[in-house]
């Protein structure tokens, strides 16, 4: 398929892109500035309120308040989302942390997240390096490589469930033709985890490829050429010129992928519902099950809160590494 506008063009070629640069440095805290109104803001305060107000209000009501209320809910006992809550302090946390199922879910999440990130990056980098070379049809291949990223998750899940069907799936069919034995992709506990990781790899490696490709465009061409003229081999150029130049972006890609894969709910839920025998159940699936299936909203909220705290730790690292202001 071809995209109008010359296929995929990396941001560096697009001139002055939106002004958020990815770079590495610590950011001074926002509290450093004293509270005082800018004269322009004072003069046009009606416009400021009118422009910012609806959005800020929306955020407070629908993002901040729900987040806080999930945390608060985790201190209450309630059987359904509409029953009257009863304060139980840290009892939900004690119960959750004493539950082997929680530790199983935490471990599964780490395994799933780590395996996904490692594979997506290990495949995404070479593909990006490949697509960074000049060859005929390059724009077309770049466009194609990003396609899985916009396929609705539900479709990704069904296509793979169909292809990996134990009895009539094309993958097992091919295995049989090749003389192998059919595999129970989603019903054997050990294999189910690997299958869910692989489906994610197909869907989200494109994100790594394209982000990394964009970063590659910023590598100093002269430096690269100089290394080549000086007799550096392709391997040395990769190691001493390319990788150091794109390392900041690499760190960010790994962090972002880790954050998103660790919290991925829909893929696992639709593929396996956390099964078989909780082999693919991670924290988001456990939280959903407790809150909506097992009538333990407080417990589900406690799991969601723990999950959120783990996430915040990674986000904090992200903000230490990424600046969001000037280029």
């Amino acid at each position: 398929m071809s995209f109008p506008g010359g296929g995929l063009r990396p941001p560096s070629e697009a001139g002055a892109g939106p002004g958020v640069a990815i770079g590495v440095r610590a950011i001074p805290g926002p509290a450093a500035r004293a509270f005082r109104l800018d004269p322009l803001v004072r003069r046009e305060w009606r416009t400021v309120v009118g422009f910012l107000g609806p959005g800020v209000l929306f955020f407070v009501v629908l993002v901040a308040v729900p987040t806080v209320s999930t945390v608060l809910l985790s201190f209450y006992r309630l059987e359904s989302l509409i029953s009257t809550p009863r304060w139980v302090g840290l009892a939900n946390y004690a119960a959750v942390l004493g539950e082997p199922r929680f530790w199983n879910a935490l471990l599964n999440g780490i395994v799933y997240g780590a395996a996904s990130v490692v594979l997506q990056v290990a495949l995404g980098l070479p593909i990006a390096l490949l697509l960074n070379l000049r060859f005929r049809g390059q724009a077309l291949v770049r466009g194609t490589a990003l396609v899985p990223y916009v396929i609705p998750t539900v479709v990704v899940v069904f296509i793979w469930k169909w292809m990996l069907d134990e009895n009539i799936g094309i993958v097992n069919h091919a295995l049989k033709l090749a003389g192998g034995t059919p595999v129970s992709w989603f019903s054997a506990p050990a294999i189910a985890m690997a299958s869910t990781v692989l489906v994610g790899v197909w869907a989200w490696t494109p994100f790594v490829t394209i982000t990394f490709l964009a970063a590659l465009q910023t590598v100093n061409e002269e430096l690269y050429e100089a290394a080549r003229v000086d007799g550096a081999t392709a391997g040395q150029r990769l190691r001493y010129v390319i990788l150091p130049a794109v390392r900041p972006v690499l760190v960010i890609i790994v962090l972002l992928r880790a954050i998103w894969m660790f919290n991925k709910f829909d893929v696992i839920w639709m593929l396996t519902q956390g099964g078989p025998l909780q082999a693919t159940e991670h924290l988001p699936v456990l939280a959903y099950r407790m809150a909506f299936g097992l009538y333990d909203v407080g417990g589900g909220a406690a799991v969601a809160t723990i999950n959120f705290l783990l996430l915040l730790a990674v986000v904090a690292v992200y903000f230490r590494l990424v600046r969001v202001d000037e280029t």
């Binding site: 500035r33 800018d38 422009f51 396929i151 609705p152 069904f158 998103w260």
Partner: protein, 276 residues
């Protein structure tokens, strides 16, 4: 860049071909499976769309509730996309043009909000919707989707408005235009690629959402395509032909829309602004 030697060229083409095949094969197989006769489909996997039939597509639209799901998705996604731009653009503009106290913090919060897992918000949002009497409505879905799309919109538009030089707007202000007029007649047209990208992204995000639909809607008449398709899997097991037909019908609009904004989409990815 130096010209590659023939064997290197061959290796590059082989690699590129492999990428394309692995990427497109599942989609190809989806299309093939959607047009094969059911009896053949379940007898033996095949790479060819034979024996050919469009029966599955006909069934999808006549025997299932798919048209309703499709209409619901369309309503929700259009409303989400329009509201996102209407609220997000002025907000981003104000953050760029005015030195408001806490603006940088607001921008960071957007990014955090963007990384917050949907499931964390889903529990209290469900409670809130029940209290407001909005549970199991399309409105509740639009509201919930805004929690994903609005941070994205503000974050992206923040970048786009920064590339619009203030001088043109100042000229308009000197001529006697109000700030709102300058925003609407000068800044928005100049950042139009951004506005378009944000609108289309929001549409795609809303269209592909499954988590909020799962939590917030329950009756069949209120299902969107993602949930409807998932429900069909449970209801008529083994109806793979219809499922693949449905998958094709809901994926193709995304591919078309996406092709319109690929370039800006990639900018967005580079900024770390797009949820994965």
């Amino acid at each position: 860049m130096r010209r590659l030697r023939p064997w290197q060229q061959a290796a590059v083409y082989a690699g590129a071909t492999l990428v394309v095949v692995v990427t497109l094969f599942p989609l190809y197989y989806m299309l093939v499976s959607s047009v094969r006769e059911p009896r053949a489909l379940f007898a033996r996997p095949s790479l060819l769309p034979l024996p050919f039939t469009t029966e599955q597509y006909a069934q999808l639209f006549s025997l299932t509730n798919f048209p309703v799901y499709f209409r619901n998705s369309l309503l929700v996604a259009v409303a989400t996309a329009l509201l996102t731009s209407a609220v997000g653009c002025p907000m981003a503009y104000a953050i760029v043009r005015y030195r408001v106290w806490g603006a940088e913090m607001l921008i960071r919060l957007m990014l955090v909000a963007y990384m917050v897992p949907a499931l964390l918000l889903a529990i209290p949002l469900f409670t809130l919707m029940v209290r407001l009497g909005l549970d199991d409505t399309l409105t509740s879905l639009v509201i919930a989707h805004l929690t994903i799309t609005l941070p994205l919109a503000v974050w992206l538009m923040y970048g786009f408005f920064r590339t619009v030089p203030p001088s043109v707007e100042e000229a308009a202000l000197v001529e006697g235009a109000s700030r709102a007029q300058a925003f609407w007649h000068v800044a928005v047209p100049m950042a139009f690629p951004g506005v378009l990208t944000v609108t289309i992204f929001s549409f795609i995000l809303s269209w592909t959402d499954y988590v909020y639909a799962l939590v917030l809607t329950s009756s069949d008449g209120k299902k969107v395509v993602s949930l409807g398709l998932a429900a069909m899997y449970g209801a008529y097991d083994l109806r793979w032909g219809e499922l693949m037909a449905g998958s094709a019908v809901i994926s193709i609009p995304m591919l078309v829309l996406f092709s319109l904004v690929t370039r800006h989409f990639i900018r967005g990815l580079t900024m770390g602004a797009v949820r994965g």
